[in-house]
Amino acid sequence: MSEIKKFLYVNRKAPYGTIYAWESLEVVLIGAAFDQDVTLAFVDDGVYQIVKGTDTAGIEMKNFSPTYTALGDYDIKKIYVEKESLEKRGLTVDDLLDLKWEDEDEDWAEKDSIHVVSSAELADIMDDADITLSF
């Protein structure tokens, strides 16, 4: 009915201190069913959302880290992380969840979903979006 639009989800907030990270993920999962062009960006404290090794037992909240790992199954494979945000927080890509997707055109080869990019590259990605949802 409509043409395909470029949806960009911008995540700038840390997980658990507020619900934005989790409710953003809920939109992404529902949105995946709409066959649009989906991109996720993690910048500023948003990079903390995809840090590995989380254990929420002590705060008695549901741990939603596993849900990020499932994004590849929803065909969400364009995940951009700002390099400057990682550096400011003393993080590297090794601190992040290992997010993968399977390329059916290459015999289901596993490929990295996460791309670490500069602020300037992210500015281009943001500029290119039709619909930007901010969390």
Partner: protein, 99 residues
């Protein structure tokens, strides 16, 4: 492209993020507590003036007035009302809110 910012630049990192990840030629609209970033003589005025060399900066007049800042706005920042906000959104091909 239109970027909106609604947080004070002294309290939160939203304006800094917007300035870092927006492109030359874009429009930036300061609303709500972000209108403090439109005032002169502050610790962030120079950042806004630098941005104004390559980007168009607007501030929402009702929010400027509510905060008693109407006499302090940096020269060259255009004050607009809600109708002007609507026009900006319509004129630019997309909108990103820095929350």
């Amino acid at each position: 492209m239109l970027h909106t910012v609604n947080k004070s630049p002294f309290e939160k990192d939203s304006l800094a993020a917007c300035l870092r990840m927006s492109k030359d030629g874009c429009a930036i609209l300061l609303i709500e507590d972000a209108v403090y970033a439109a005032t002169d003589g502050t610790a962030v005025s120079d950042q806004i003036k630098e941005a104004m060399k390559t980007k168009s900066v607007y501030a929402l007049k009702p929010d400027v007035d509510a905060r008693g800042m109407s006499g302090k706005v940096i020269d060259g920042i255009e004050l607009i009302d809600y109708a002007g906000f609507v026009s900006l959104v319509a004129d630019q091909n997309s909108t990103q809110s820095w929350l």
